[in-house]
């Protein structure tokens, strides 16, 4: 026999799991600190890569000047400017990442509690079904 109540609940669970819940369930595997740290790592990589590309574009633009002045350039000053720029950019991005992904994690937790509540009800239904099953089995044996 189909259990309508169970089917309804399972449908709701499946819709959540396949839709907005996909990301939430993925996040549920991490602790908050681990998740945020992982995101910071990814941000650092992305920002470094992006910054290098920007530098490449700037170098290409100034290539004629750079080649012409290659000997007399103050590499120390250039290096410091580039590094300071990089550190400032990275700090901004890391702070943004911490705030943004913490909020995201907390929000997903909120949604997950609802999901887990539904799972609990589901477990209860399964227990009821099992109890019924064993009762009917007992009846048959007798």
């Amino acid at each position: 026999m189909l259990n309508i109540r169970k089917t309804r609940l399972m449908t709701k669970l499946a819709i959540y799991e396949e839709g907005s819940g996909k990301e939430d369930i993925r996040l549920s595997k991490y602790y908050k600190s681990d998740y945020v740290r992982f995101q910071i790592l990814k941000t650092i990589l992305a920002v470094t890569f992006g910054y290098l590309l920007v530098l490449a574009l700037v170098v290409l633009y100034k290539s004629e000047y750079l080649i012409a002045q290659a000997v007399t350039l103050d590499y120390h000053a250039i290096g410091i400017t580039v590094l300071v720029g990089y550190i400032i950019l990275l700090t901004i991005y890391i702070v943004g990442t911490i705030i943004g992904y913490s909020i995201k994690y907390d929000l997903s937790r909120g949604k997950l509690t609802k999901y887990f509540r539904m799972l609990k009800v589901m477990r209860k239904i399964y227990r009821e079904e099992e109890a019924l099953q064993s009762e009917s089995d007992d009846g048959q044996e007798q």
Binding site: M10, F49, L57, L60
Partner: protein, 432 residues
């Protein structure tokens, strides 16, 4: 207003029904228009402009997630630039990657804003994008909108310079690049426009979330006002006064479009039918979950109170009112005041042609009921009258509630009761 709401309910119902067809068609049209616009804006590569290519790619986009369309739009634009200058194409590619690393990485789901802003610039309504982002998403979308602005201005500048240098050799490439670079870096407008868009997004988002009536509508208007003022300052600062009229017109058009989108957003929001599959120990389930929505369509019934022009020729039953003769307990027909029928009082004699057999029996049943139970009988008589009216309307071909399931059941019940009573009576007589 009611008409609009009804239209919305109707659209919603149809959308739920034909969602499987409507969604890919919408995506196909969107992809087709987007690619055609890119082709007309950067018409360098003739092979990409072939309708077959555009159609095929659009078809692919129809059945894939929206991010694929964004990808194809980028590929198309890069390939167009590739046809003129390979280095420029490479640089465009690098810029896309930079934009991804710095901005789009955080909001990949809003990547379409990057495509939408340059596309809508060509028809002068880019202001629609920040308004809609504010309505539907959150302030983080100011990142993709900024990317969209950058992409638009970048291609605008590249176009200007490649048109100026039609004869491109490898030696010309580097100067071309430095020109483009300088132009982009010195183009302060990019920053200001991105800032105005960000402000519009924040304004719309903040107002939309206020707890008041028509918050979304007011948010659109507030966004438009911020947009107009922002661009006024921008235009005056960069002394492009000629653009002001166009900008205001574009904003107005954007507001109108935003209202239309808002209307449809409420239609399609939460109305999507979900098709899910899952299993338990005993079954596989393929469930189609249809969200419950109230369809506010009015169930209209037109009652013509004084419509009898065609029926007054003969003596009609409507000209008589049916009353109960208290003394005899008989039902009699008395002419109504002002009707054309004569003043003769009709005693109830047999059945009228239009009354179905069940009713005849019912009437007999009723007259005896009236005799035996005073008030109760009268109530039943009222019910009977209503049924009779329905029967008549049914004969005239009007829509009535005549003979719905309940009525039929009631009739059956009554018939059954009469039968039983008849039996009892006959048994009693036999006993006597």
């Amino acid at each position: 207003m009611i008409k609009i709401l009804e239209l919305r309910s109707l659209l919603r119902a149809y959308y739920q029904k034909f969602q499987m067809i409507v969604d890919p068609i919408c995506k196909f049209v969107l992809a087709f228009v987007t690619l055609r616009m890119i082709n007309s804006a950067l018409a360098y590569e003739a092979r990409l402009e072939k309708t077959v290519v555009v159609l095929l790619v659009s078809l692919l986009c129809a059945f894939t997630p929206p991010s694929i369309l964004v990808l194809f739009a980028m590929i198309f634009s890069i390939l167009h630039v590739w046809a003129v200058s390979k280095l420029m194409a490479l640089i465009v590619f690098v810029v896309f990657i930079i934009l991804y690393c710095f901005f789009l990485r955080f909001t990949p789901q809003y990547g379409y804003a990057v495509v939408a802003i340059p596309i809508l610039y060509t028809i002068n309504v880019p202001y629609l994008v920040p308004i809609l982002l504010g309505l539907m998403a959150n302030p983080i979308t100011m990142l993709p909108s900024a990317c969209g602005v950058v992409v638009y201005y970048m291609f605008d500048i590249i176009k200007k310079h490649t048109i100026a240098n039609t004869s491109l050799t490898m030696d010309d490439v580097l100067p071309l690049y430095t020109e483009v670079y300088e132009d982009i870096v010195n183009h302060k407008e990019i920053l200001v426009v991105a800032l105005v868009f960000a402000l519009v997004i924040i304004t719309v988002y903040t107002v939309r979330r206020l707890k008041m009536e028509y918050a979304s509508e007011i948010a659109v208007l507030a966004g438009a006002v911020v947009n107009v003022f922002g661009f006024l300052i921008c235009d005056l600062k960069f002394e492009v006064a000629g653009e002001i009229g166009r900008m205001i017109l574009g904003t107005l058009l954007s507001v109108v479009l935003a209202f239309i989108v808002l209307f449809f957003m409420r239609v399609f929001d939460y109305t999507a039918v979900e098709n899910v599959q899952f299993e338990d120990d005993d079954y596989y389930y393929y469930v189609k979950a249809v969200p419950k929505i109230e369809i506010g369509l009015q169930d209209r019934k037109i009652k013509h109170i004084n419509e009898k022009s065609s029926l007054v020729e003969d003596e009609d039953e409507d000209d008589y009112e049916e009353i109960l003769d208290e003394e005899t307990g008989e039902v009699i027909f008395r002419p109504k005041n002002g009707s054309k029928a004569g003043s003769q009082v009709h005693r109830q004699t047999g059945s009228r042609a239009f009354i179905p057999a069940q009713f005849r029996r019912l009437r007999e049943d009723l007259s005896s009921a009236v005799m035996s139970h005073g008030q109760k009988g009268r109530d039943e008589l009222d019910a009977y009258e209503a049924e009779k009216r329905n029967a008549k309307a049914y004969e005239r071909g009007e829509e009535t509630e005549y003979l719905n399931e309940d009525d039929l059941m009631r009739m059956d019940e009554r018939a059954h009761r009469t039968e039983q009573r008849d039996k009892e009576q006959s048994l009693e007589q036999e006993g006597k």
